[in-house]
Amino acid sequence: MGVTFGKESASRRIVPGGTVSDGPERLLDGSAILTRLQAAVNWGRKYSFFLYPFVTACCGMEFMSVAGPKYDLDRFGAALPRFSPRQADLLMVVGTISHKQAPILVKVYNQMTEPKWVFAFGVCAVSGGFYNNYSVVQGIDTLIPVDVYVPGCPPRPEMVLDGLLKLQEKVAKERWSDWPRGAAPVTPMLKKQE
């Protein structure tokens, strides 16, 4: 290609941020980008969520809307829903979780490989919503750790996108020591009847 490295060469101008670095990158003449590995990995993670849609209720329609072409989660890198928890790293809990379903949700969470994040989609997943009764879990954070809460019945697609951006900010700040989180801290509550 015959590229000559110098102050005005093309490689000089594609330093991230567009500013000319005075640090070691200048000494290496623009042919390298220096960053922390942790920051680079987090950057990769936050733009490539593979989400597992745990859809149980009417919020699912709103999830389809936000994943569809009009609002398009793909713009933020969260494109492909994986229907196997082992291939996913973002658990979208979309809808009401009943006590009978709670062990299934926890099993799905525990089957996902780390690092993994949990997105509480809609007010039922956040707090139980108006279902304060004998059958509904009062917020999935009583079962598994939650990263982003997006209330609403159902939430607007803009709120979901905002929640996703908040999650991206959170992922960008993570440290190696944040992982692994381990299994969900749940124990059986109901003693078996004889």
């Binding site: 006590h99 009978k100 062990p103 004998y134 009583t142 079962l143 749940v186 124990t187 109901l190």
Partner: protein
Amino acid sequence: METNVTIKKLSNRFPGAIIETHSHRGDDTAVVKKESILEICTFLRDDEALLYNFMMDLTVVDYLGREPRFEVVYHLFSLRHNRRVRIKARVSEADAIIDSIVPVWVGANWFEREAFDMYGITFKGHPEMRRILLYEGFEGHPLRKDYPIKKRQPLIGPIN
């Protein structure tokens, strides 16, 4: 169309088993003795002038403080005659048991299991009398009016 033909036929056929009837605005309703429910349902299904071949709904109402406390409600529809009827059978709390109508309409199977799950009415002769919606180990019947409104029975959880 004569609206209360069902009531008339029932009253003629089972004079001792019909406790009361009314047909307000064309809604035929008969309150019957629970001992005769299977017989009455078979008659309603098979009689040529009635042919109630569609059991639309089976549910229970809890009249707490009244004796007998529960009412099992059957909604029937005749596709042939385009006619509906509502049958009620009163069941006391002490003897919360009634004959299953699964031998008459197979579709009643899950309705009766739901009624058992939510109200604790036992249906005698049901092929599989166990909970349908709630889980094994759940105590009590949550749609009874005296089920504590704050009572929670979670399966798992650190705080639930």
